[in-house]
Amino acid sequence: MAETRPRTLFDKIWDSHVVERLPDGTCLLYIDRHLVHEVTSPQAFEGLRLAGRRVRRPEATFAVADHNVPTSDRSSGIEEPESRIQVETLERNVAEFGVSYFPLTDARQGIVHIVGPEQGISQPGMTIVCGDSHTSTHGALGALAFGIGTSEVEHVLATQTLLQKPAKNMLVRVDGALPFGCTAKDIILAIIGRIGTAGGTGHVIEYAGEAIRALDMAGRMTICNMSIEAGARAGLIAPDATTFAYLKGRPYAPAGEAWERALAWWKTLPSDPGAAYDTTVALDAAAIVPLVTWGTSPEDVVPVTGTVPDPDDEPTAARRAAKRRMLDYMGLTPGQRIEDIAVDVVFIGSCTNGRIEDIRAAAAVAKGRKVAPGVRAMVVPGSGLVRRAAEAEGLDRILIEAGFEWREAGCSMCLGMNPDQLKPGQRCASTSNRNFEGRQGPGGRTHLMSPAMAAAAAVTGRLADVRGLAR
């Protein structure tokens, strides 16, 4: 078993989870933690039931309802019948199969990718899956975490394994110091803008470099979260002192002697010197500026101080046609100044930017200011515990006084499965992860950006450079 070749973090986690290797290279990969939500699991549990199968490791399986839960008062249940049926189905399934569950009335309820790290369920060196593409978030802890479809959800429930082929290794190095006014969101938007939405296809991305090391866990989670927007199923950051300090004392993290043993193991996980990557990309953090998206793909990034690009500058006819379609959908014209674009709605939340650090950043901009007339601005904490923490710091009062709505935890307007949706033609400054057509509601127009930039849009009524609002 002695392995002498220098290995990457990904290689080490992968190798330690291979149960069996089939002749064609497909591996039966062991899965340590399985996170489950209401939208992609009902058909999987039904499959188990029909086949008379049980959940192999209920204690390694955690469920929470997040995608279509209302973010208004929920004490009287869910009004919308289809959403209610999905949540009730999840509740029946977790009871029948013995899976741990954080109910809607529990302060620990929230977006599955906020809850996992917050509870210490997600740990370095683990394999973690969930029927959701933003499972890549958990890679910030040094875990191999990726999204799967419902058939695979059923496969993991039944066998605690998946059939997978190893991905290629991509290294994204971000060195230099991040300038004032820029955040982890700007780093990941800059990366996606550079490599494109298919740039990471077939790869797992390891983020490294001094700008990544300098980030807190919230920032690292924002970066890993959007790996899928660069086409990579998973993003990883080597565990370090920041990771260990974050995990220590969390409810499901190891404690006592187990903590010491875990820590010793976690320290062996970072990539070996000289480990080989199939693809390497380098970015200078010092050159990053606050970014927003202008189109309907997350790769369509532009500095907030820039202008709407001209489709005629694209190299191929197909790309020119695609960009024209985007501009038409977004209601923008080439050459238009980004800072002249007025917004109708501001959404601060999601698994990308729904943590306490994100709410602090938004509140710092909103403090003593007012949401611009005609703008609807909402803050949706990523979990009930994030909401409580914000309230303990008085952030809710700052935001409410500024005119923001202060809501209950859930995925909310990131994907508009609950009543929080854009109306056709409405334009939104959003801290979420996808600007696809109709993503936040049919006909809705999404501009992705950091929480501070979204708050700046709320108080100015247009896309605005947060550096101009600094105090």
Partner: protein, 201 residues
Amino acid sequence: MQPFTTLTGIAAALPLPNIDTDKIIPARFLKTIRRTGLGKNLFDTLRYTPEGEERPEFVLNREPWRRAEILIAGPNFGCGSSREHAPWALLDFGIRCVIAPDFADIFFNNCFKNGILPIRLPQEMCDLLAADAAMGANARLTVDLERQVIVRPGGEEISFDVDPFRKHCLLHGLDDIGQTMAHAAAIDAFEARRREALPWL
């Protein structure tokens, strides 16, 4: 799962790049606890006006492509979410094979679990097949998985790659879980070793 052996059918071309899973099936249609019935909302916003009328220019609203069983798509098809509702919607509509220059990983994987064959071909080949598809019912394509070839209307063959294990599963309509259950002893042994080495997991 229905086996996939040979498919002869009408192909529809949808060459837009980056067709994401929200375009394939918008999130508001995911509030179902079943796998079926999603075909009517396949490509919903491309296919219907906000009032719910069919857009006559959209390929799947036109004869003969309403009956398409093969889709010739653009690069990075299926990017975005992990929702298996995307292949379920394609299957429910009647599409069993998608051919594109490249696919997003999760979507690609999900297709195989549902008896849909996704095929990666260079852009030039996709362009040829899209031109065939434009000829409609007189230009059916045949996809032969056993031989790994696409037969064009004139009889010319284009070969394609497929992972041997996935090919085997598709040809025989095999359930992954049943196969993995055959490795139960290996999983038990792995778990026992792991409990010893890393007991907190």
